[in-house]
Point group: C3
Chain length 252, copies 3
């Protein structure tokens, strides 16, 4: 039953029969590409989603991040439901979409709010679950001066506007919101950068992710998981960025 | 009223009440991601779109270029209306779509023609506004021999077909069309390359854009604007490409 | 008649009048962007698709690969029909979609199965054309140890899971399936990497493609063809990767 839900969710269709016990790839896939249906059932749902190196909540957060960041609305509804089942809260989903507006562009975030609104309405999630009480901003990280200095050195001369927007709304406000933990915010950022091929910014955010509590093992498994949703090449480039970071900081 | 239109346009939905005076993020966004609605109203429409470093017409041209080049059809209709309000002509929209067929692929351009056709029909824009009189091609830039020599050196041996298509239809014909000014054509090209992560070609086109009359300040502000529509990482990579160009030509 | 079908297919719309003899760009394009309609009829269908350096079957395989890998569902139906007309078999289409699940992500492949199912149903293609008899896996290439050693050296330490998935399901199983010839599988892979900007992995797959029987001339013409479907910048980056490979192996 749970497995069926998983398969149905991943494929964006409702389960045909709730009592079925095994994941079932949808009929069009089974007809057109039977080998893909097999990989879906046995490899993706039967194996990868169950690997212990990353828990189901994190796998759901990684999956919805790829789908939102890459603008894949069709399978998003069912993966948002799966994410809620796996313990991602409605406020965290709202926080993820807000964060991704900045990291993957407004159009992808706007589409995601429409899909999420339909899912939340269907599940009768009250607005109170989403309207955060006025929260105190999280403290600024100790090494933020270094980050700001890099922006000053590399961005200000070319685009004073982008530098200001990066220092104030982005790092001074968005990153200090408490609707996502810093660890989850880093995970979402790393996944979005990897899925969208934004390798240039990955080194900084991998480092920040480790500082925010992600482990190297989780980062490595994140790449294996997102290979299925963003494609193998993106996962390989993400892995190469982790390798590069480790070579810079050999003592870790 | 104007602000409301702006917000509604950006979000691809009709204004709920024409008499409302302030930009209003759409209801699904307000429910699911209230912080994002706030950023949309106060930061994106209340601040960025009004910054003087780039006029509203250029901001519209940048925005529709990102949406067409990245294949985001959903918000395109309302941004095309906004672009018309901001002074982009129907012929320039047609020219932009034609140009982006080459720089972002036919499928994105074909989708855009369908959206634009609906907008033009709704606004009763006559075909005469789009059917250009037979125009004389613009002159070939003085340094085109250098460009052709680079293609000869880097492309011809591998793909004679691509070299011929680049020299004849692309630079010999498309770039000499007068439905977009060379300055706007460069702007559209730079934005498309940046939004789609095509950094390898950016150096050449930034240089050409400066030759065609874009200023460094406009290029920098373009990156700040497109950060919101294509995501921060693309804007940072675009900014890095401008920095690199400036380092090559320190006297500028 | 054939040309008309070609144009209609490429643009995702049914031919208006079957007896028309010349390719016709769709009406919305002709109204909104008449120059683009002209390029479509005269350059893309009237010239590029007919160039002898790549046969129509290969051009179709390249085109559907770009559309699936880049998630462009709208024009896919008509190009799948064109591919069937040009000699790509239903089993090869299923094999291409399955392959691209790994190289461009599950969401794009799932969307493609829905489009293909509709096309196959319309054409009454029997399930027997798709359900492959249990086939013996193709032999492992002689130099697979070298590939596995690279994965061991570059991936295993960071993501043991991704390394295992790469060695076993990907290269040990998917690449040994006989629903695509190794030559076609390489072509599909190279096109997907190029269209999605995954340049880091392109060197390895170009080399493998040559080993699997693709010629340098076919690879060069593939870049010219995909320029129209994935945009010029991707084609230029793909061409640069071929140049780089040739410089490494000057004797070839």
């Amino acid at each position: 039953m749970r497995l069926l839900t998983l398969a149905a969710l991943a494929l964006g269709s409702a389960p045909a029969a709730a009592e079925q016990a095994e994941p079932v790839a949808p009929k069009p896939m089974r007809r057109v590409a039977p080998a893909l249906a097999d990989y879906t059932d046995r490899l993706l749902f039967g194996d990868v989603w169950k690997r212990p190196e990353l828990n189901p909540r994190d796998r759901s957060l990684v999956t919805i991040t790829v789908l939102i960041a890459a603008g894949k609305s069709a399978p998003l509804a069912s993966h948002l439901e799966r994410a809620l089942d796996n313990g991602v809260t409605p406020a965290e989903i709202g926080g993820t979409i807000t964060h991704l507006a900045f990291y993957a562009g407004w159009p992808n975030a706007v589409s995601a709010t429409e899909v999420a609104d339909a899912v939340f309405t269907k599940r009768r999630i009250p607005a109170s679950a989403l309207q955060l009480a006025r929260m105190a901003p999280l403290p600024v990280p100790g090494n933020d001066g270094e980050r700001a200095a890099t922006v000053e050195r590399t961005v200000t001369a070319v685009s004073p506007s982008l530098a200001q927007l990066t220092n104030e709304p982005l790092f001074g406000d968005l990153w200090r919101r408490s609707d996502l933990s810093p660890r989850d915010r880093s995970l979402v950022t790393i996944v979005a950068l990897t899925a969208n091929g934004d390798a240039e910014q990955l080194g900084f955010h991998l480092q920040r992710g480790l500082e925010n509590g992600l482990t190297e093992a989780q980062l490595g498994e994140t790449m294996a998981h997102l290979a299925f949703y963003a494609g193998w090449p993106k996962a390989f480039s993400g892995t190469a960025a982790i390798t590069k970071l480790k070579q810079k900081t050999p003592a870790q």
